[in-house]
Amino acid sequence: MRMNVALRPLVLALNSTAGFFRFMGELTYLIGDAAAGVGRSLFHKQGRRLGWANLWAQMNRVGVRSIPIVCLVTFCIGAILALQMAPILRDYGAGDRVADIISLAIGRELGPLISAVVLTGFAGASIAAELGTMVVSEEIEALEAQAIDPIRFLVVPRVLATTVMTVCVCVVGDLVGGIGGMVVAHLALGTSAIQYFHHSFDALKLRDFITGLAKAGVFGLLISALACRLGLGVTGGAQGVGVATTRTVVTTIVAVISVDLLFTAVFYAVGW
C-alpha cells in the first residue's frame, strides 16, 4: 500500500507523458490526413463544387471577420511600443529610430503572434465548438454513415482557411501596427510619415517579413488542427463542448507561444 502511494506521482507523470504523446500522435495523424485530403477536397471532380464554396465560407468566417479586431489590437500595440520607446530613444538622440524597432518587432514577432491570438478566439474556439456540437448531435456519425469522410469534408476546409487567413490577417496587422507607431511617432517625436516609412523599409528586410508570414502560417495550421482535434474528440454532451472550447483556447495559446520560441531560437541559430 505504501509502495503504491510512493509510486503514484511516477505513475501520474508516466500517464501524463503517455497522454501527451498520444495526443501529439493523433494531432500529427489528423494533419497528415488533412494534407492528404487537400487534393481530394479541392481538385477532385465530385468534391469540387462543395469544396470551394465551403472553403470561401470558412475563409470569410475565420479571416475577414477578424480583421477589424486584429487592426484595433495591432494599432494599439504599435502605438504602445512607440510610446514606451519614445522617451528612451529621445534621450539618446535617436527618436527617428522608433520606426526601425517597431517595424522589426511587429513584422517578425508581434504581427504573427497577435494575429494568432485573435484567431485562436475567432477561429479556434468557434471551430472546436462547432465540431463538438456536430459530434453531440450525431452529425459526424451521419457523415460517416453516408460514406463522407469528416476529415475531408470538415477538417480540410477549416485548416486551409485558417492557415491562409492567418497569413493574410498578419499582413494587414503588420501594416496597421506600423501605422499605430507612426501616429505616435508623429505626435510625440515629430517624425514625419515619409521619414517613418523610409526608416521602416530600411530596417525591415524582405527576409524578416517572410519570416513573420511563415510563422503566421504555422500558427494558423496549429490553431485549426488543435481546434479540429479537440472538437472532434468531444464526449459527454454540452458540457464536453464547453470543455473542448476552453481547452482549445488554452492549448493553442501555449502551443503558439512554444512554437514561436522554437522558431525564434532556430532563426537566431541560423542567423536570420
Binding site: 465530385q46 456519425e141 460514406a147
Partner: protein, 276 residues
C-alpha cells in the same frame, strides 16, 4: 441452434456471434441475427439493452470485438475502406435526432450525398431532391434551415436524406422518440410506404411498442446484450416468457421491475448513514 430469421428468405445482413464491450462492460454478447430481404425487422429493447450499439455495428460505424457481421455476403471486419464506403452508399440511416447538418438548408442536406457520390448535374440533383422531399411530404420546406423545423419534420428530412441514394436497406434509430402520437403514426406510415414503394429492407430500433406493432413484419427483443425472443407481432403478443410479456404489453409489474428492485436499493440508501 437456429439463427433468428433463419426460416425466411435470403439474408441481406447477418450478425454472426457479434460481441461488443465498452470500458470493460459487455453491451452485446455473441448475438446472432439475419435481416431478410424486403422485411421490416424491429429490434426491441429497453434503455441500455444494446440495440443502438447493434445498429451502429450493422452500419459499420462501430467494429465488433468478437464475431462478425456480413453485409450482402461480405464481412464488415475485413472490408477495405473503399468497400465500406460502397456498403454505406447502399444503405440509409435515420438517426434518432435526425442528425441534419444545421448549417445547410433541408434541400442541401438531401442533396449532399448526391453531390458527394454522383457526378450528376446540379439541375438533376435539384429534381431528385424535390422527388425525395415530396416522398416525405416536405417539398414546401426545402429552403428552410433545420432549426426552423419541428421534431417530426426533422425526422422526415433525415429520412429524405437517407433515401437520397436509393438504398437497399434503411436503418431507423428510434424513429418515434420524442414525437407526439399523431406525428409518430405519420412517421410509421412513412416507413411502411417507403418499404412498399421503394422495396427496401428496413431495420428499426425502437422501444415504442405501438409503433413497433404497426410496422413490424418480424420482431426481436434484446435484453442485456442477448436476444430473448423473436417472432411476428402476433407471436410476440402471446409470448409465454413473462419478461417478454411485460415488455411487449408495457406492464408496471413483472420480472423487469423485480430485477431493478433487486439492486440492493435499501442497503444503498441506508449504507452511508451507518458511518455517521
Amino acid at each position: 441452434m437456429r439463427w433468428v430469421g433463419e426460416a425466411m428468405s435470403e439474408p441481406v445482413i447477418q450478425v454472426m456471434d457479434a460481441s461488443k464491450t465498452f470500458d470493460g462492460r459487455g453491451v452485446l454478447d455473441a448475438i446472432r441475427l439475419d435481416v431478410m430481404r424486403g422485411e421490416t425487422l424491429v429490434i426491441l429493447g429497453g434503455s441500455g439493452s444494446g440495440k443502438s450499439t447493434l445498429l451502429r455495428l450493422m452500419i459499420g460505424n462501430v467494429q465488433c470485438d468478437g464475431g462478425d457481421i456480413l453485409a450482402f455476403g461480405k464481412s464488415l471486419r475485413t472490408m477495405t475502406p473503399a468497400e465500406l464506403d460502397g456498403y454505406r452508399k447502399s444503405v440509409g440511416v435515420l438517426f434518432q435526432s435526425g442528425a441534419l447538418f444545421n448549417s445547410m438548408t433541408v434541400a442541401d442536406n438531401v442533396a449532399l450525398p448526391l453531390r458527394e457520390h454522383t457526378g450528376l448535374a446540379e439541375h438533376t440533383i435539384d429534381i431528385m431532391v424535390k422527388i425525395k422531399l415530396e416522398l416525405v411530404g416536405l417539398r414546401q420546406h426545402a429552403d428552410k434551415m433545420p432549426a426552423m423545423l419541428s421534431g417530426g419534420m426533422k425526422k422526415r428530412a433525415g429520412l429524405a436524406r437517407a433515401i437520397a441514394l436509393d438504398p437497399k436497406v434503411l436503418f431507423y434509430d428510434e424513429p418515434s422518440a420524442g414525437l407526439d402520437p399523431v406525428t409518430s403514426a405519420e412517421i410509421d406510415q412513412l416507413i411502411m410506404d417507403l418499404n412498399k414503394k421503394l422495396g427496401v429492407t428496413s431495420v428499426v430500433v425502437t422501444h415504442e411498442m405501438g409503433s413497433a406493432f404497426r410496422i413490424a413484419d418480424r420482431m426481436v427483443l434484446l435484453d442485456r446484450g442477448k436476444f430473448i425472443a423473436e417472432g411476428t407481432p402476433e407471436r410476440m403478443r402471446s409470448h409465454p416468457d413473462p419478461l417478454v410479456h411485460q415488455f411487449v404489453l408495457g406492464l408496471a409489474e413483472g420480472p423487469l421491475t423485480d430485477r431493478r428492485r433487486a439492486g440492493g436499493y435499501e442497503e444503498d440508501l441506508l449504507g452511508p448513514l451507518e458511518g455517521i
